[in-house]
């Protein structure tokens, strides 16, 4: 790496890139995701109602919603939405708005199974999020159990800012989420690939979470 790359991240936000996200940001992101899920559920409901109206407009009455079915459907949709987002993109829409990314312990995007488990865990046990307040590593219960992390990453696509340097070299062969790996407190001027890689490993492997013991 030469450090000659041009990053789209604002200067004031660059030191935080790769650091674990705190509670406030994650709550805002989750709220946005909840709104998105609500919109999706509402759209599905309206779609079904419209379909029913088209089938029999004369005898149409607004369907009386079954709370349990609606709740189950909503939770299922939320789980599917989050699982697909974390698996395919590494982030949901709320994460995207707040500049967050969900990664595994090595900084890579989650696999489908782990994404699904984490989504279900988050949907059915949302209170686990608050463990990140007391966790020195800012890890929620879901993160602790599934060995994941939520990090600041304002770059839209994984590795977009380091895909090509002025020397035409590939940035780092650390996987598709190379630039979204959690990073330690690296001074801004210290851009050596080896140094950064070392910080990441130490940050992830040598910083035990009290809850894991």
């Amino acid at each position: 790496m030469t450090g000659a790359e041009i990053s789209p991240v604002p200067r004031e936000a660059r030191p935080y890139q790769g650091h674990s996200a705190g509670l406030v940001t994650r709550i805002v992101a989750n709220t946005i995701d909840a709104l998105v899920v609500g919109v999706i559920v509402g759209a599905i409901y309206l779609g079904l109602v419209s379909f029913k109206f088209l089938l029999d407009p004369l005898s149409f009455v607004w369907p009386s919603g079954n709370f349990l079915v609606s709740l189950t459907t909503t939770l299922f949709i939320a789980t599917a939405y989050l699982a697909l987002g974390w698996w395919l993109l590494g982030r949901s829409y709320g994460d995207h708005v707040m500049g967050l990314r969900v990664v595994d312990r090595r900084g890579r995007r989650l696999g489908p199974l782990r994404a699904l488990l984490r989504a279900a865990f988050c949907v059915f046990f949302p209170i686990g999020l608050f463990w990140c307040v007391v966790s020195p590593e800012r890890r929620s219960v879901q993160d602790v159990v599934l060995w994941t992390r939520v990090v600041y990453d304002w770059v839209a696509r994984p590795g977009a800012s380091q895909r090509k340097t002025l020397l035409g070299e590939a940035p780092m062969a650390l996987g598709p989420a190379a630039t979204s790996e959690p990073r330690g407190p690296v001074p801004e001027h210290e851009t050596d690939a080896h140094t950064r890689s070392r910080y990441r490993r130490e940050d992830l492997e040598e910083s035990p979470d009290p809850s894991e013991r």
Partner: protein, 303 residues
């Protein structure tokens, strides 16, 4: 009263006539002249008187022409003429053989140069010669063409000649400016095969000899830049091409897409930064409440 001649180095006395002898000679000549005149008159008279008879004798009548005394005499004269011619030819052969030898013997005994110097007024002779006309008549071109200059030059000891010349004095006398003024430098330059000259030049050796540091130190860069037509230079630069290459390397479109996709508005950026600051503030509060030393994770990040 006698001039001296030298014959084979020995002086010889030339005899001179005295006045009496000269008088006697004149008298003799006068008598001879009168005699000759009288004889001529007598002969003419006799000839006039005897002419008819002589004619009759030379051409007698009734005698065939080939037997006329005139004819016989004419034949004899013709034969005599042929003999005379033959005799003259033989005499010439003899003279050709003898005269050079005799002249050589004579010249050997006479100092002709001295004789000419004593008796000939050379200055007067030369003064009568029209040298200009003589020179005008000389075909100098032909004369020069006949000269074998190569051989002549080969015989000259040029080194010796040059060593004798005081070149300093010669150069001091030369008016170089006048010479340069007379030279048509344009014509000389037009004849010059610059390519051939440049091809022969050893530029590396020349450059090695040049003290470029000294040259650069003397250079007035400001003046050079003031004279430089930077606009023309910039016009020649393919700025568009250079920018294209740079954009290819840094992949600017991808960066623009990233930035516009993730941080389209200042609002999103502000919300994100507010969230980060709130996270840090909350972490500090919790750390203080738990009497925990601030962990290096996120709280060490520059504020």
């Amino acid at each position: 009263m006698s001039k001296e001649l030298t014959t084979s180095g020995r002086p010889v006395a030339v005899p001179q006539l005295g006045p009496e002898a000269r008088l006697a000679l004149d008298v003799a000549l006068g008598v001879a002249g009168v005699t000759v005149g009288a004889a001529v008159v007598a002969v003419r008279t006799v000839h006039r008187v005897t002419a008819p008879l002589t004619r009759l004798l030379w051409h007698p009548p009734l005698v065939p022409t080939r037997f006329h005394p005139a004819t016989v005499v004419a034949d004899l004269a013709r034969t005599g003429g042929a003999d005379r011619e033959e005799l003259r030819r033989r005499a010439e052969v003899l003279l050709d053989a003898w005269v050079p030898a005799l002249v050589a013997m004579i010249v050997e005994r006479i100092d002709i140069t001295q004789l000419v110097e004593d008796n000939v007024d050379l200055d007067q002779i030369v003064s009568t010669v029209d040298l200009d006309a003589a020179v005008a008549r000389v075909d100098l071109d032909a004369a020069v063409a006949r000269v074998d200059l190569d051989t002549a030059v080969a015989r000259v000891d040029l080194d010796g000649v040059v060593s004798l010349v005081d070149l300093d004095a010669v150069v001091a006398r030369v008016d170089i400016e006048a010479i340069v003024d007379r030279i048509d430098l344009d014509a000389v330059a037009a004849k010059l095969d610059v390519d051939a000259v440049v091809a022969r030049a050893d530029f590396d050796a020349v450059i090695d000899r040049i003290d470029l540091d000294a040259v650069a130190a003397k250079l007035d860069v400001d003046a050079v830049m003031a004279r430089a037509d930077l606009d023309a230079v910039i016009e020649r630069i393919d700025i568009v091409g250079i920018i294209g290459e740079v954009l290819d390397v840094i992949d600017l479109p991808a960066i623009i897409r990233d930035s516009s996709g993730s941080m389209a508005s200042e609002t999103v950026r502000g919300v994100r930064m507010t969230g980060i600051n709130a996270d840090d503030a909350l972490s500090r509060v919790v750390d203080r409440a738990l009497f925990r030393r601030r962990h290096h994770n996120a709280s060490d990040a520059p504020q």
